[in-house]
């Protein structure tokens, strides 16, 4: 008898579509039942939704008010300022793409595609506006080319972003009595622009306060620590609506009569204080993740307390909490809708305004709120997608 040749059968490495179906949809009788139930559910829901969207639904309030949704009551002859802001961001985006790549690239590409799509949208739109939409991707490309120059340093681009934030606010509000940049009162700010502005101001302004609070909470000085803990826990313990209300109703009482701040600024104050408490907790988490050895080594090298914190501990802690801060920005972006309760005309409030603007639109709530939900979803989903990529790129979760 010849030696049995043992044939080792390799397990199949490729499963055909039939195998896949059997494995992932029909493995047991229960799974088969579930599959058919889900298919039926999908069919009913999708058929209902699609027939409604393309036959019954009347999208006129949305397509006729795109400008309102985007910028609110911002004066038409001053719209070029918003154009400048977006072009500025596109240019900086291009530079950052060249410099940092990764997540920024995804973001920049998405932005360029979105601008291109907007230029081709089948709604009534000026030709200049369409052209401007197309110019922006070109500006981004220009930024990319600029970024290739060795003279462009990371620090400068960061400074550029910070300056662009200041420039955005200056451009939006303008100056009293100026011919070129007349003052645009904040009650004319609105729509998606205001939504973004509230979230951005909230996160940027809360950052330094959050850092201070986080340091205060870790401080060895009992009085400082107690005050920081009290502030953080008080703010985190109550809903944002109550803080916004407090900022809009009680804050004026807290200030002397000659100091009047307007509605938008009051809402921003409320948002900032709210965001600062959460920011402090995020940063504290980052600080706790830094091993003590770092601090001891810095001390041993001869750095003083301030230098140790500013040059050694804080940079590492902040790097670790970037994804958390992005997450907080997304949450804040969604929370800006609460400003509608204190009377700001951000995106959601515009929806209400649009519905009441014509009697025949009064009952089209479904269309309008679905559109607003879709706008929010596109932004928050893409931001959270980017933040997940960022997390991987920074390798934060892996340490």
């Amino acid at each position: 008898m010849e030696a049995t040749t043992e044939t080792v059968v390799k397990p199949p490495t490729f499963f055909g579509p039939v195998d896949w179906l059997r494995k992932s949809l029909f493995s047991t009788w229960f799974n088969t039942l579930l599959t058919f139930l889900s298919l039926w559910l999908l069919y009913v829901v999708l058929r209902g939704a699609l027939t409604w969207a393309f036959t019954t639904a009347d999208w006129a309030p949305v397509t006729n008010s795109l400008k309102l949704f985007a910028v609110g009551q911002y004066p038409l002859d001053q719209m070029w300022r918003l154009g400048v802001i977006i072009s500025m961001i596109c240019f900086l985006m291009g530079v950052s793409w060249r410099l940092w790549g990764g997540t920024v690239r995804t973001f920049a590409l998405a932005m360029a595609v979105a601008l291109g799509v907007m230029a081709l949208m089948p709604v009534r739109m000026d030709l200049t506006l369409r052209l401007w939409f197309l110019v922006n991707p070109a500006l981004m490309a220009l930024g990319y080319l600029t970024g290739r120059s060795p003279a462009v340093k990371s620090q400068w681009v960061m400074l550029g972003w910070l300056l662009s934030f200041v420039a955005t606010i200056v451009l939006l509000s303008g100056f009293k009595g100026s011919a070129l940049l007349p003052r645009v009162a904040t009650n004319l700010w609105g729509g998606l622009t205001l939504t973004f502005l509230l979230a951005l101001v909230g996160i940027v302004a809360s950052f330094p306060i959050g850092v201070l609070l986080a340091l205060g909470r870790r401080s060895s000085l009992p009085v400082v620590k107690a005050m920081c803990v009290l502030f953080i826990e008080l703010v985190r313990g109550v809903p944002l609506v109550t803080i916004l209300f407090m900022a809009s109703i009680i804050l004026p009482l807290f200030l002397p009569d000659n100091l009047r701040i307007d509605r938008v600024l009051r809402a921003m104050t409320g948002m900032t204080l709210f965001a600062a408490a959460y920011m402090a907790e995020n940063i504290r988490g980052g600080l706790q993740a830094i091993p003590r050895g770092q601090e001891e080594a810095a001390k041993a090298v001869g750095l003083n307390g301030f230098q140790t914190m500013a040059l050694i501990v804080m940079p590492q802690a902040l790097r670790a909490v970037i994804p958390a801060i992005v997450g907080q920005f997304i949450a804040l972006f969604m929370d800006t809708t609460l400003a509608v309760i204190v009377g700001l005309v951000e995106l959601l409030a515009i929806g209400k305004t649009v519905l009441q603007s014509r009697p025949e639109w009064l009952l089209l709530d479904t269309e309008v709120y679905l559109f607003i939900a879709a706008v929010f979803w596109v932004f928050t989903y893409s931001m959270s997608y980017a933040s997940r990529q960022l997390e991987v790129a920074l390798g934060v979760g892996e340490r």
Binding site: S27, N31, L34, T35, I249, P256, L338, I341, D365, Y369
Partner: protein
């Protein structure tokens, strides 16, 4: 001259260290300065409030609580008329908040658990549907969802005479949702004693049989016996107490409206839908993460010991998963409670809504706000106390 200088510098030293380099002294000074700054701000704010109160005739006292409120509330669980006091109106709001929180937490837990199980399912289609639901709902602001439910769904239902009838006795109309209400009869109290006896008997039997099983190593079916006791005693009681302790009260269509039955107002129903569907996604992720955190080896080891599928889940996986699930789950419950303050946007009379109305009527912004904030803060405090107790308990079990 020289001696003078020396005496000055010895005066400003402590144990040979100059005061301005002494850490203890510096820390003390830092605390005093920071406390002084905060107290200064507080004095400034309080002074302004007092001045404003004096100038505008606002009162800061709580004497208004017993005054007659004079406004109607759309929804109440205890008797309330406009002639009742502000304090009672506040209590109505507080009870409404508690009601929506309890019902919401209950339903959101069910929805979240089902979604989590769907996310863990090996069925590809079920898995996808669950994750699409999570990704869509999480990325749309809660307030937009509430607006959608209230203005686009519940406000656009047909008038009450043309109510939509769902399978079973559920009627949907502009006046809300009508359904069957269980109503207690005269024998209800006696029957409750049977129910209580059933619970006690089940607990006692379970622990006695469990101990015997531990001692003798024989299966005593403790779970089954306890379940039988839990059901059998109330069931026996139902027939022993004479007439049925609970009757069902069906909503009956009158000339213009339903009479009887259980009514959910459109505001309550919309708020509940929004909160449950939104919080359900977060709970789903919490539960899924908890179950996935139990390592595969635990399943395998339990199966190797001969435990059945149900036993593996009940005795090995769940105890470990719950330890991870419960703390974030409780904070989701707290979030739901805090988010219920958004009720003000759709006119559900929760504690914040009532507080806002009292401010409009009585003009006591500061005291009313303190009361509202105290409600939410005590909810947060209660949550963290519960969490600490739980964490202590599981730590004891662990070692």
């Amino acid at each position: 001259m020289a001696t003078n200088q020396r005496s000055l510098s010895t005066l400003l030293t402590r144990r040979g260290v100059p005061l301005w380099r002494d850490v203890k002294v510096l820390q003390g000074v830092a605390q005093v300065v920071s406390a002084a700054i905060v107290i200064g701000f507080l004095i400034f704010f309080v002074g302004n409030v007092l001045r404003a109160a004096e100038v505008r005739g606002l009162s800061l006292g709580y004497d208004f609580v017993s005054q007659s409120a004079g406004f109607n509330l759309p929804e109440m669980m205890i008797d309330y008329t406009p002639a009742d006091s502000f304090g009672r109106a506040f209590l109505v709001g507080l009870l409404n908040t508690i009601k929506v929180a309890i019902v919401g937490v209950f339903l959101a837990t069910i929805l979240g658990t089902i979604t989590a199980l769907a996310r863990l399912s090996s069925n590809w289609l079920v898995n996808r549907i669950a994750s699409v639901y999570i990704e869509i709902i999480r990325n749309i602001p809660l307030l937009v969802q509430l607006f959608f439910w209230y203005f686009a769904v519940f406000n656009q239902l047909p008038p009450v005479t043309e109510s939509i009838r769902w399978p079973g006795p559920i009627y949907l109309s502009q006046r809300g949702l009508y359904t069957v209400a269980p109503t207690a009869t005269g024998s209800f109290g006696v029957w409750m004693a049977f129910v209580a006896a059933g619970i006690v008997a089940a607990l006692v039997l379970r622990s006695v049989l469990l101990r015997r099983q531990m001692r003798k190593g024989q299966d005593t079916h403790y779970g089954l016996v306890a379940a039988i006791a839990l059901i059998a005693l109330p069931l026996a009681g139902w027939f022993l107490v004479g007439d049925a302790p609970l009757t069902t009260d069906y909503p009956v269509m009158g000339k213009f409206n339903f009479t009887g039955g259980l009514r959910l107002t459109p505001e309550f129903a919309a708020l509940l839908c929004g909160l449950v569907i939104y919080t359900g996604t977060f709970i789903a992720e919490v539960v899924r993460a908890g179950i996935q955190a139990v390592s595969v080896g635990q399943f395998d080891a339990a199966r190797a010991l001969g435990l059945s599928g149900g036993q593996v889940l009940r005795l090995v996986v769940m105890p470990q998963a719950l330890r991870i699930i419960i703390p974030p789950l409780i904070s989701q419950y707290l979030n739901l409670t805090k988010n219920s303050s958004l009720a003000i946007a759709i006119g559900f009379a929760d504690v914040f809504f009532v507080g806002r109305t009292i401010i409009n009527q009585a003009g006591r912004a500061v005291p009313v706000f303190t009361m509202v904030m105290a409600v939410y803060l005590s909810a947060s405090l209660l949550t963290s106390v519960l969490m600490n107790i739980y964490n202590k308990r599981i730590q004891l079990v662990e070692r």
